[in-house]
Symmetry: C2
Subunit: 322 residues, 2 copies
């Protein structure tokens, strides 16, 4: 039997990271460890990981390259699902990964398809890390997942799906006909487990998807499955642009405020998905992405329809909720 590949995961307690951890453990194909920051070791979410028998490696990401190299000892694959405000903290880790001979680094991507520069602040900071990876010729795979089923469904008049909604929402953006790449958050880790073990994805960008749906299609599915009629609210392109401008000008007055950054992230997602209509297969392929469903035709992702049926059955779970 071949020895299992040693994978180290950073950000394992986050929404994306915990899906990745589950996906990695599920396959029994990897020796998985998680990288946690000193201040997080005692957190219940980290202790839960430890209780599942997953070894912890503790490191301050602001440590020296040398220290991080020693932390990475024996690791073959490094996956980062670091939080959106800490992306640039991956810089030293990238250099350490190169020095430590990491065979594949999967930097924190896991977002919608978007231009490399100038449209989404979140994407721009990821690009800085990708460029550092490329400068060092570090073997890499970028995995983007589109938007999650879990934050793409409308609320119903009965209120019966509100328990699972991050933000109650029945808004149609523009004409509601922009197709969007959607992945169930639980599938992220399953996709990642395939992708990181695949020679075809080395030094490539890959996107995953469970469905490609417009907001109108999503609403139709929700109405059909629930038997309820959703009252649509519309937000025009002009309104989306105005919201984006307001969020950006507010951030420009206070560039490090996490709340204001988050608001820019959210309004830029909206702008990118519904005005520019970036988050779709055509644009992903233009940008050079591989399609994970073409790579793994046997993979059966969770469809939006399956996901929403679960939510109607009371089996949904609010993202980021503990």
């Amino acid at each position: 039997m071949p020895t299992k590949q040693k994978v180290l995961l950073l950000g394992a307690t986050g929404a994306t990271g915990s899906s990745i951890l589950d996906g990695l453990l599920e396959t029994h194909q990897f020796d998985v460890e998680v990288l946690v920051r000193p201040g997080s070791v005692e957190k219940p979410s980290v202790q839960q990981i430890k209780d599942r028998g997953v070894p912890l490696r503790v490191a301050d990401l602001n440590a020296s390259e040398e220290e991080l190299v020693s932390i990475l000892q024996g690791i073959e694959i490094l996956i980062s699902a670091i939080g959106p405000h800490d992306l640039l903290q991956q810089k030293t880790l990238v250099r350490a990964a190169k020095s430590a001979g990491i065979k594949r680094f999967t930097p924190c991507a896991f977002i919608t398809i978007a231009p490399p520069q100038g449209t989404m602040l979140l994407r721009d900071e990821k690009e800085i890390i990708y460029n550092e990876i490329k400068r060092l010729e570090l073997p890499f795979t970028v995995v983007d997942v589109g938007y999650w089923h879990q934050i793409s469904f409308p609320c119903l008049p009965s209120g019966r799906v509100d328990y699972a909604a991050l933000v109650p929402n029945t808004t149609i953006h523009g004409d509601g006909n922009a197709p969007n790449i959607l992945t169930d958050i639980r599938d992220i880790g399953r996709f990642v487990s395939r992708i990181i073990a695949d020679d075809r994805t080395l030094n490539k960008y890959v996107y995953t998807w469970g469905d490609i749906l417009t907001e109108n299609e999503i609403l139709n599915v929700a109405e059909e499955l629930s038997g309820e009629k959703v009252e649509r609210q519309y937000e025009s392109v002009q309104e989306m642009e105005k919201r984006l401008e307001d969020a950006q000008s507010s951030l420009s007055l206070d560039p490090t405020d996490p709340g204001k950054r988050t608001l820019v992230y959210i309004t830029q997602y909206v702008y990118s998905k519904y005005v520019r209509q970036d988050n779709q297969p055509r644009y992903a392929k233009y940008l050079g992405y591989l399609d994970a469903r073409e790579l793994y035709p046997d993979f059966k992702p969770i469809s939006f329809r399956e996901f929403f049926t679960e939510v109607l059955d009371g089996k949904g779970k609010r993202p980021y909720g503990h």
Copy 2:
């Protein structure tokens, strides 16, 4: 007979551009026009192009997007071989190309393989343009050519190849064993003519090459063909780093000085080629480039050996010389 594709070339009087013009005309496959700036129309080099029956379109690159759109009327393929100091002037042209429905834009690339960001100022500015292209989903092809045969040969003790040398040179950088992608400048246009008519290269990066040679291999060829013994001079990694630092700190005092910029370009080329050793197929493939020789196995490029034989026979030509 199918109608010929309409190609517009910017920078046709430059070293790279004139190779591209020759290559495009040679195939009789394209309707070629050249884009010239108002101040250049009367230049002898432009008049020579006109005398070859090539129509001129005259435009100021700082004109409005609308004006540039009207200039691009009827063009299918737009190639830019703009000079190294004017790269960012392509910005409005890129937007105009999108609005005009250009089917393929080949932005000014045509350099060595190098990281997208942070190693070569020249490459960094090209990346700004590539990112703008991608933001607009403008169909594109990036073509890089490595270093030219014409600026890669050593001078001989007899002085008989000095007439063709841009700068007399017998320096070995480091240990002289860094492999480098080399293309004869006359082949650039021939490669480009193939590449821009090829569906496989749409939205891709491609590198061309006539030879992959180290400085030691180049010197061996030169000595063998000439029968002369070249006295090697060596420049250490430390010396190359020092030269680069000096050039960069000099430019930082006067960031727009063209002479200082040129010196930074040159020292960064040296650093990238011989210290980092970027300009080689392995790194090009890592970055996602296609190999033009794999795409066109029937293409017979001019080898360095053939090129240097011509130079010894007195048939060489100093680059940039008029």
